[in-house]
């Protein structure tokens, strides 16, 4: 075990930034939900939030980009280093990486807060934000690559000392996640470095909407796995033990992460089914690959549920259902993550609909999408991360969670609020209500939307209450909790252990090569054609 001081502080620093971002995202989110319900609070929020769309951009950037990325860069290296049992190899890289990322974030935040970058978290050109927004976000991405480097160097040190041993599962998963992300983020990096940054600085006169979108979605789909896989790390390697059971199959868990590494990236066109300028045939290829990545998701579903079941049965559960009832529902960390899984089932089903070649046109860019995104990144990811912090923050602080009851109330409020909120948005989407739109001010509100719009506000309000209880509990844990919390991260043991996995599961090169080949096949022809024939001639506009 590594001493708490050596890497716990760095993790705590990342978590602090993540939590501040989440708070900002939650507060701006409430204003949007209320707006849909007919309560326009924006006049009261000026000049901090200058418009609905300013608030919406803040909400998206803070929640899906900052909260996730900083949480992941704190959490995954923490579990990897605990599992490997060696200190970070490049000690001098740790804090500079954190400060680089935080510096990039501050740089991006200046125009963001000042309404000079109200372009949503997807920042589609030719909407043109201030250059500092693009440069700042790019610096954050470069910071994540340094985290990958740190993990890889640390693994290599461990490997030299343990040549014949399988990589411990938590470290393996952290490495696979960061390897996947590093490959996937190349699209976004290219969009920033070759298109958006020179254009926003005035070095080149124009840009191109389609090429930018292709590069964005190269990263934009795998980024959801970058958010999701850390939750899976907890579901696979920590939760089985938290519920008193064992991981069902270590080899199957490795297989699913390797498949995510290979399959996450070459499928971004399913976000662009309705885009012109991309051949229909390539869209179909990406549809096939999207359904292929459903396979490791199903493996995860089975393995995680079987592991939970082993815990429920060890706690006296019998039969088909009672093992589930016997899970330790009084532990907020467990309750949060099991509830996150339950709601994620609906997010997964919705995701299959989105990815469907033919059904996508019913839901693309409608309110269905934020409904979907709030079940996935807003619940499967965010509620799982909250559940993780319910043990991780007491662990780092050395003090028990301030109130278990408050935490349990928070979890169930989140579930209830999300069911109301997300259901309403899904249904509004099916009725053709556009997303990212100031509906309360729109002239075209259809009569059938009207009964559902108040539910968006109600759900959003319940979610906000839940989030505020969460922040209060975390704050009180930090400042007011007096009960000691013992140090020591305990990972789950497996029924079928790492030694049952084929040796190739512990090699990186074949999988990285396979991932690269699939990307070249799926993206190569379209990208080469677009780069060759696209003039960068579209001028930028600031129209917000």
């Amino acid at each position: 075990m590594i001493a708490r001081a050596t890497h716990g502080r760095l993790t705590a620093a990342y978590l602090a930034v993540a939590l501040v971002a989440l708070l900002g995202g939650v507060l701006t989110g409430l204003a949007q939900a209320l707006e849909h319900a007919g309560i326009n609070v924006y006049p009261a929020l000026a000049p901090a939030v200058q418009s609905y769309y300013h608030g919406l951009t803040l909400h998206g950037v803070l929640n899906v980009l900052v909260w996730t990325t900083f949480f992941i860069c704190g959490f995954l290296p923490f579990v990897a280093i605990e599992a490997l049992g060696v200190p970070p190899a490049a000690r001098r890289l740790g804090w500079p990486t954190f400060w680089l990322m935080t510096g990039g974030l501050v740089l991006a935040a200046v125009p963001l807060v000042g309404n000079a970058a109200s372009v949503m978290f997807t920042f589609y050109p030719p909407l043109k934000a201030h250059w500092a927004f693009y440069v700042g976000l790019t610096i954050v991405v470069i910071g994540t690559w340094l985290v990958t480097l740190q993990l890889a160097l640390t693994w290599r040190v461990w490997r030299r000392a343990n040549p014949a041993v399988r990589t411990p599962l938590p470290a393996f998963m952290a490495l696979a996640t960061f390897a996947m992300w590093t490959i996937a983020s190349l699209g976004l990096a290219a969009e920033m470095l070759f298109m958006l940054i020179p254009w926003s600085l005035g070095w080149v006169g124009g840009t191109d909407a389609l090429l930018a979108r292709v590069l964005f979605w190269f990263t934009g789909h795998p980024i959801v796995y970058f958010w999701l896989l850390p939750a899976y790390v907890s579901w696979y390697t920590l939760m089985p033990r938290q519920v008193g059971g064992r991981l069902f199959s270590d080899p199957l868990a490795r297989a699913s992460f390797l498949l995510f590494l290979v399959l996450s990236t070459p499928l971004g066109f399913h976000h662009q089914y309705t885009d012109p300028g991309i051949h229909e045939g390539w869209k179909l290829v990406h549809a096939f690959l999207t359904f292929a990545v459903f396979f490791p998701s199903l493996l995860t579903f089975f393995n995680v549920v079987a592991s939970l079941e082993s815990g429920g049965r060890a706690r006296g559960g019998r039969g088909l259902v009672s093992w589930f009832v016997r899970l330790p529902w009084g532990d907020p960390s467990v309750a949060a993550q099991v509830v996150a899984m339950l709601l994620f089932a609906f997010g997964g089903i919705g995701g299959l609909i989105n990815a469907s070649f033919s059904l996508n046109r019913l839901v693309h860019n409608t309110a269905w999408m934020p409904g979907h995104l709030h079940l996935t990144v807003g619940t499967a990811v965010t509620l799982s991360y909250m559940g993780i912090t319910y043990w991780l923050i007491p662990h780092l602080r050395g003090r028990a969670l301030w109130s278990r009851r408050l935490a349990l109330a928070q979890v169930w409020l989140w579930a209830g609020g999300m069911v109301i909120f997300s259901n309403a948005l899904h249904r509004l989407g099916l009725m053709g209500m556009p997303r990212r739109t100031m509906i309360g001010a729109a002239a075209y509100v259809q009569p059938e939307w009207k009964p559902l719009l108040p539910l968006v506000g109600l759900g959003g309000a319940v979610l906000t209450v839940s989030a505020l209880l969460y922040f209060a509990n975390i704050l009180l844990t930090l400042v007011a909790s007096r009960t000691e919390y013992p140090y020591g991260v305990a990972f789950a043991e497996a029924m079928s252990g790492a030694d049952h996995a084929p040796a190739i599961f512990d090699r990186w090169r074949p999988w990285l090569v396979l991932a690269g080949v699939l990307i070249v096949l799926a993206y190569g022809p379209s990208l080469v054609r677009l780069i060759a024939e696209t003039p960068l001639d579209t001028p930028g506009m600031r129209v917000w």
């Binding site: 309705t274 300028g277 229909e280 359904f291 299959l352 996508n360 729109a442």
Partner: protein
Amino acid sequence: MSTPPAKRATTVYLYELAWILPSIAIPVGMLAALAVTAFGAGIHLPSVEGRVPATQVAQHPPFDAPGVKQTGPGQYEVVMTSQIWAFAPSEIRLPAGSTVTFVTTSKDVVHGLLIPRAHVNVMLLPGQISRVTARFEKPGEYAMFCHEYCGIAHHTMWGKIIVEPRS
């Protein structure tokens, strides 16, 4: 543990296999169903339809003459442009039972065209021509919305298609 480790591993292996096989079958089955329904119903996604210079959309055919044009019995072509924050034309009249091909693009930022009742859903990107075909069977008003954020008055960007009963 009463079960010997070797046997336990075998049991796990059998369970794994019993799950892996349906996990392959489920996505493959879904994909097959999807392909059959999509191609059976003749559903097409927007594809490569060519470019127009993003800064001179109005000078280039077909966008130099926006409007509705009959191309055959019950067949229409609608040439439409989008810009902040309007479609042009923003009100279109068609007879019921028409098959309509929309040829559209954007003159400035990214817009979208969503006609929920006709299942039209396409992105409008400056520099790209979008072409989609839809049927307008029932008489009535079909609202069309911009469904991509396009600036401060995005929520005011909409139009109507009025489908008139056949006389």
